[in-house]
Symmetry: C2
Subunit: 116 residues, 2 copies
C-alpha cells in the first residue's frame, strides 16, 4: 500500500506565505504600480496613470487605497495651486524590491524562452 504523503507543517507554512503574498499583490495592476514607484520614487496620481499604461482611473484609485491600507504606500495631499497628491512607497513597501526584481527578471527570461 502507498504511504500517505503528508507535507510537513513547515512546508505548509511556506505555501501559506506564498498565498499571503499573492493576496496582497495579486491582480493585474498592483505589482505594476509598486514596480513603477520603485523605479521612479514619489509620483502623483496623474503621473502614475500615465506611467502604468492602460489603467483606468477608477482601478488606479482603488488599488492605491488597498496598497495604502496594507501599509505599502503613503498618500500625501499637497496644498499646491491645483491640489496635488503624492504617492510613495513606505519602508515596508520597499522590502518588495527583491520580489519585484525577480518578477521582472523572470518575465524577461520567459520571453526569451518562448522565443526559443
Amino acid at each position: 500500500m502507498k504511504q500517505k504523503i503528508e507535507l510537513s507543517p513547515q512546508c505548509k507554512g511556506q505555501i501559506r506565505a506564498i498565498g499571503d503574498t499573492m493576496e496582497l499583490l495579486g491582480g493585474k495592476w498592483k505589482i505594476k504600480i509598486i514596480g513603477t514607484l520603485l523605479l521612479n520614487g514619489t509620483m502623483r496620481f496623474m503621473e502614475l496613470k500615465r506611467a502604468v499604461e492602460g489603467i483606468a482611473p477608477k482601478k488606479l484609485s482603488k488599488d492605491l487605497q488597498e496598497l495604502e491600507l496594507n501599509e505599502l504606500i503613503t498618500r500625501t495631499v499637497k496644498e499646491t495651486k491645483p491640489i496635488t497628491v503624492e504617492y510613495e512607497l513606505t519602508p515596508h513597501g520597499r522590502t518588495l524590491e527583491n520580489l519585484i526584481n525577480e518578477a521582472m527578471n523572470w518575465g524577461i527570461l520567459h520571453r526569451n524562452h518562448i522565443l526559443k
Copy 2:
C-alpha cells in the same frame, strides 16, 4: 508649467515584464502549485490535491493544464495498477525558484510586520 514625465522605454519594458510574469502566475493557485512541486519534486494528482490545501479538483486540473501549456511542468501517465499521473517541473519551471522563494520570504516578513 510642469514638465511631462515620460518613462524611458527601458523602464516600460521592465514594467511589461512584470505583467508577463503575473499573467502566467496570477490567480489564487498556480504559484502555490509550483511552490509545492519545488518543495516536493515529482507528485501525483491526488498528492497535489492534498498538499495544496483547499483546491478543488476542477481547478487543480485546469491550472495544471495551463502550466503544462506554458512549459512550466510536465504531465506523465504511468501505466501502473491503478493508473497514476505524475507532474513535475520542467527545467524552465525550475527557473521560478528565486521568485517563489522571494514570495515565501516576503509573505513571512509581511506577517511579522503586521503583527508589529
